[in-house]
């Protein structure tokens, strides 16, 4: 069965303390891995798409990387406004071209000033 597992479930960091979030997947027919940020009661906000092992993408203090079995979201010198739930999702090939995403349960990140 296709699975997406994120770790840790929750992470509390001091402002400026860098860390990494993990997303491991056991799927067949992967057609993209996505990272989203979600604030309470709001819709997920798109961050990155990764398609192939070795690919890396950066945006401000965030950097996403992908291997054959997992992805990491590295957060460098985080600020309190980076506090949110970070969701990893995979897109599987269904043939229709409008494939739904399968999400992990997320990492709840808190950055303390």
């Amino acid at each position: 069965e296709d699975q997406v597992t994120q770790s840790p479930e929750a992470l509390r960091l001091q402002e400026g303390e860098s860390s990494s979030l993990n997303c491991s997947y056991t799927v067949s027919g992967l057609r993209g891995l996505f990272w989203y940020r979600q604030d309470p009661g709001k819709g997920p906000e798109f961050l990155f798409t990764l398609y192939s092992a070795g690919e890396e993408k950066e945006k401000e203090r965030l950097k996403a990387t992908l291997t054959k079995k997992e992805s990491f979201l590295h957060i460098t010198a985080p600020k309190p406004e980076d506090s949110a739930t970070y969701l990893c999702a995979v897109r599987l090939y269904s043939g229709g071209g409008a494939d739904g995403l399968t999400f992990g349960k997320g990492t709840h990140l808190i950055i303390q000033p």
Binding site: R31, L87, G97, D99
Partner: protein, 115 residues
């Protein structure tokens, strides 16, 4: 930049009633997706549409149906509502993968409460 629009933002219904949620995708996006997110849960994919045709189907209950119209907006119809249907319902839109990178952009959601 224009985002996905969902209406209503909040909806309160009683058990066994019906509800209709609306979604207006980002301009030029031709593909629409619906997700359900229960309290403390990750979003669960329900159904998707491209060019008014159902494209992919997830864990959508038989009591729910959806459609996409010629202007690309979509509606999710929910009947015989149950207490367990209380959740945030998100619509997302994207370009079809044949037209470019299919990143899904989510709307602000409709919070449905069934009493």
């Amino acid at each position: 930049a224009a985002g996905v629009i969902q209406s209503p933002r909040h909806l309160i219904k009683e058990k066994r009633e019906t509800a209709t949620l609306k979604c207006y995708p980002i301009p030029r996006h031709d593909t629409v997706y619906w997700y359900q997110q229960g309290p403390g849960q990750d979003p669960q994919f329900l159904i998707s549409f491209y060019e008014k045709m159902q494209s992919d189907k997830g864990s959508i209950p038989d009591r729910f149906s959806a459609q996409q119209f010629s202007d690309y907006h979509s509606e999710l119809n929910m009947s015989s509502l149950e207490l367990g249907d209380s959740a945030l319902y998100f619509c997302a839109s994207s370009l079809h993968w044949t037209r470019g990178a299919p990143e899904q952009y989510f709307g602000p959601g409709t919070r449905l409460t069934v009493t």
